[in-house]
Amino acid sequence: MIWVETIVNGVLYGGLYGLLGVGLALIVGVMRVVNLSHGEFIVLSAFIGVSLLGVFPWIHPLVLLLPVAVIAFGLGFALQAVLINRVVTRPDPFAAILLTFGVAVVMRNLMVEVYGADLRHLQAGRLAQASTGIGDLHVGVLPLLILALSIALFTALQLLLTRTRFGRIVRATADHRDVVRLMGVNPGRVYNLVMGLSLALASVAGMLLAIRASFSPYSGVERLLVAFEVVVLGGLGSFWGAMFGGIALGVAELVGLRLDPNAGPLYAHLLFLVGVLLRPNGLFRVRA
């Protein structure tokens, strides 16, 4: 029974990991850029949540998801418009990687200076302790809620990209950046919106993860690696693949922790390395 519970919890946790990665999968799919500051923005959104809770202590953190996502959207839009759009068209594929890495270094150390290096936690009150279950199987209400929210966001993103005019423009820009110009689309503007969307998704994941696990300004590295592993395991640019990649990593991590309590994310990393070794194109690859 304990193993079933561990695996169920791993699936619930993995849904959150999928959400960490889906924003990055979006960026990779649309601009073929890996944003190395993705993890820092995930941590920053949790800190914004902490700051907002400091000002409005009577508000439940889950209510803050929307305002934090709006702020993260603005930050993503600005990051893309001010910095990344200047290098994204360069033939050198490393310019964008190195640029976002520079942004990550600046953000990480700014957060240390502003918020201090201590471990933080977002308090979700009674909801965090509540649990439900079938028979002997106990699962937390909050993790279930988080998984439901992740699935809802995945579905919304899928619908946005496949069913709307904006989604058509984004997909067209991803396929032919130069051809869409002929149709009156400004690829730079599309990129701004996509980066905003990517970081808004990341901020939701960041807030939810901050409720489930403690974080510090240095957690960005770990968050980025998880997000990246999700993207690669799921198959580059595939969203539902990202969800399954996240679940695989979540299960690996919790099963690993059950076997070996001080392993940390070791088993998730090992799953990733083995996955890359066996299937460099991702475990759940749908299409290129």
Binding site: G102, V105, F228, F272, L273
Partner: protein, 355 residues
């Protein structure tokens, strides 16, 4: 042959004076300055290795700190278990790193560009976590280096400095020699156009493999000496991503894909550090923020780094690995003006193969 290499011009008098200065330094300058110079020399060696990967082999490794840490740990382990002074077992560090790199390359090379960058980073995290869990290696708390007492304490600092200087010089001129060789030419053709390179029979994989193994050995050696100087190693310091942050920022500021770039970058890196932390009394965090901003500005406005600007002012070829391409067949030989164009072609300076 018109395609022969042009010699980089380094006057022997400067080489002799530099060598003399390095040998004499421990008697001339204080212990603090000596330690500072050792650190700078080792950082230069690591930055040069990262430059070899990113600037010439097209491999951006974000996990290069794994070799810094592995080098340090293998040296500590060998020195303590054999009870031999650390400097005698120094070759262990680059050897272990080269072997590990050769194995890692087999599967990391399946990943391209950004995926390689983060793949190496994940590998580094895995090694760091495994070392933290290994009690024999001191676990999370790390291990000291008791065998350092086998070295006369009066000689520890000077020896560290001489070895560091030797490693830095070997890194710069070794990379120079490598890039002037067949392997280097292959690497640069791959960097400039991998499809074209493969089509003329350049073995892309093999050239990158050689560069990756050499860079791992170099970082391992520098890391081993660096932690010998502090007499203590722990996973948090040894596998710290800030190692690769420093290498990357130095190379970008100085000039990626040039051999002089990391030298210029190291000078700016340490000058900035001393200015901000000692002169203005800022914390290490603000110093990293400042460096990050400088690096972002460099990528946006001066993607080739500062060295190409400096070279423009100084003139000369320095450590250029550029080769004169064979004169291309001129199609318009009938026009009389072409003679003049051909004779000035070598002075244009925009010859391919050098950035």
């Amino acid at each position: 042959m018109s395609g022969g290499p042009r010699r980089g011009y380094v006057p022997w008098s400067i080489v002799a004076l530099g060598g003399l200065a390095i040998v004499a330094a421990p008697w001339v300058i204080g212990e603090g300055a000596l330690r500072f110079l050792s650190e700078a020399m080792l950082m230069l060696a690591m930055a040069q290795m990262w430059n070899l990967l990113a600037g010439y082999a097209g491999l951006v490794s974000m996990g290069q700190q794994v070799f810094v840490g592995l080098g340090a740990y293998s040296l500590f382990f060998a020195s303590i278990s054999l009870n031999i002074a650390p400097f005698w077992v120094l070759p262990v560090a680059p050897l272990v790193c080269a072997v590990v790199a050769a194995i890692v390359a087999l599967f990391m090379f399946r990943l391209r560009e950004a995926y390689f960058a983060i793949g190496t980073w994940v590998f580094s995290e895995v090694v760091s976590l495994l070392v933290s869990k290994t009690d024999r290696l001191g676990g999370e708390r790390g291990v000291g280096l008791p065998t350092a007492r086998l070295i006369d304490p009066r000689w520890l600092e000077p020896l560290t400095f001489w070895i560091s200087a030797a490693i830095a010089i070997a890194a710069v001129f070794g990379t120079y020699a490598l890039l002037r060789s067949r392997v280097g030419l292959g690497l640069m053709t791959v960097r400039d156009n991998d499809v074209a390179a493969a089509s003329i029979g350049v073995d892309v994989w093999r050239n990158r493999f050689i560069a990756f193994v050499i860079a791992a050995a170099g970082c391992g050696l520098a890391g081993a000496v660096s932690f010998t100087a502090t007499l203590y190693v722990a996973p948090g310091f040894a596998f710290d991503p800030n190692w690769v942050v420093a290498m990357m920022i130095i190379v970008i500021i100085g000039g990626i894909g040039t051999l002089e770039g990391p030298i210029v970058g190291v000078i700016i890196y340490f000058a900035l550090r001393e200015a901000l932390t000692v002169f203005f009394g800022l914390s290490a965090g603000w110093y990293l923020i400042g460096l990050g901003i400088v690096a972002i500005a460099a990528i946006l406005f001066e993607p080739d780094g500062l060295w190409p600007l400096l070279r423009g002012h100084l003139g000369g070829d320095w450590l250029s690995v550029r080769r004169e391409p064979p004169a291309p067949p001129r199609i318009a030989t009938v026009t009389p003006a072409v003679e003049g164009v051909r004779s000035s072609a070598s002075g244009l300076g925009a010859t391919p193969g050098d950035r």
